[in-house]
Amino acid sequence: MNEEESNGNKLINTEDFSVFYGRNEAVCGVTMGIRAGMVTAIIGPSGCGKSTFLRSINRMNDLIPGCRVEGKLMIDDQDINIPKVDVVTLRKNVGMVFQKPNPFPKSVFDNVAYGPRIHGVKSRGKLSDIVRNSLQQAALWDEVKDRLDHNALDLSGGQQQRLCIARAIAIKPSILLMDEPASALDPTSTGKIEDLIDDLRGDYTIVIVTHNMQQAARVSDYTAFLYEGELIEYGETGKMFTNPEKKTTEDYITGRFG
């Protein structure tokens, strides 16, 4: 990846993007560009709309009755909210990891192979390769290679979450959304997840929502601060945590509220 790409190429662009739950506006007119191959953290107090924003990138909010969007959210210059966009194709390109580890009650192998199978991979050999690669990328291979046929729910919480990451990257998305991926885990597991995010940097465009500002500072290249649905500040993580432009941002990251 060359210098120009990593700085200039914005993979996800929003223009005046808003999300409503019924009459309630959860995300208000956000305009930002998320850079390809970088880790972008979205921080903000509870209820600021950061999860809602994240979930609208792969249109998971479609599942929620009464939810609608306004404005534009574009991936690769393609507005994802127009009718002709197929959510299945969209979600194949935009993987997601949830707050609570949610492996299926199936074997480790079947968990990772679930996505590829949906998208038409049938041969056992190919699936095995995909499962192996994904688990290796998710730094889980060595721990589970001898028990691929065991139930995924037998794994520890941290392993389960890495399995979910492996499951998400098994369909080779270009974007990986993470919704507080470590908040339900102990510090050791959290450390492993953060190391993993660091390893995945460059291969995937990662957008991570987090409550934990140290975590945002550790793992992300860029940080966006959302407050009451509005984008207050967005910039390089280093600059934002040392020298924020806005007073609200400073108050939040220094722990005066939130």
Partner: protein
Amino acid sequence: MAILLMTVSLVVLLFPIFMKGVGAFVFRETVENRELMLQRFGRGDREEVMADVRETEAARKPVYELMERFEDEMSRADSEFRRKYRSEYREVKELIGELMGPKPGGKEGALIRKRYGKVRMDRALAKLEQILMIETYDYSDTSRMGKKVLKPRRDIFRGTSLEPVFAILRKDINKMMKPGIKFYWRFLFDKSQDAHFFGGIWPEVLGTLYLSIGAMIFAIPFGIVAAIYLAEYAGEGRLTRLIRVSISSLAGVPSIVFGLFGLAFFINTMNFSNSKSVLAGSLTLALLVLPIIIRASEEAIKSVPRGYREAAMSLGGRKWHTIISVVLPAALPGILTSIIVSLGRAAGETAPIIFTAAVSVGKPLAVWQTLSQPTPALPWSVYNLATEHEAVNEIRHVQYGMVLTLVVLVLLLNLTAIIIRKRVSKKLRR
């Protein structure tokens, strides 16, 4: 632990049924039973049985001889003597015939029950008691109901050549009947002989299996599809609410109403069969258990963690694929429970099959015959034997054997439900 407790409490509750029902499987058989088994089912060692028969015939010989002598005495005696003893003797002769079967070399009756004596020792002893003691009623106190009085029949024949027969019968009953313990597990798998006088209950057991499994074949797909529709697609509208209320009230409709509906709709209107058939009965039972399956499956589907759905959707799964590959497997314990509970319900229901499927006597059906033929079934036959059989007392053991079989069948089904649910939920860690 829960299973154990349930089993124990049920066993305590069902103890009387169990004790009486076991009588159909384990009882003291007489030589008549061995002969019957040999002749009608080809079971037992011919040599041994015939030896037994000869032995008992020898023991019975004095009885027959005394009877002959008395008949002789009657034919030679005056008309007054004849008038006095004719009907009394006829009764004795009949009773002895019922106890020991037709006299060797005598005429064989048309009905199977006339060709053999008492096959069960308990019935034989009851018959013996009837021979020895005569039941009369004492009406001397007019202010009360007649009082039952037992008086020895022997007193009637005192002084005649028949008198010693009663003492011989009492003394040698064991030699005449040669009782032995019989473990008749084939009670389950034998066809009944002569309207349940002899043999087993296989047509009933088979009919019950056909009916309940048939009901499941119709109820499971419809029930699960309806549950998926209600839980995943219907949304929360006025129509959905109406459907839910209808299903709930359907669950509360008395089962006899389903029976009449089945007759009116499946047989009279739709003409699935000319008359009662297993098909019509299965469909009726399916309607009966459908609400149970729909409601329970819907609950099970709704209680699948949202995380599973979200994960499947986020991987690009379409809704129906998510439902089939993730939601249904996760809801399986609940669905299975509802299925097996309703299987038990379908097996035990009487009212819906009275008009649609059940007959009191029938042969075991082949699978293809279920489309057009009616069948006997356990719950209906229990009722039928208890109320409409010509010799209710003679075949109590069959009736209780059927009840026991039905209870055990339903218990086993429920036990299977619990075990399957445990295993599946263990796999799901929920």
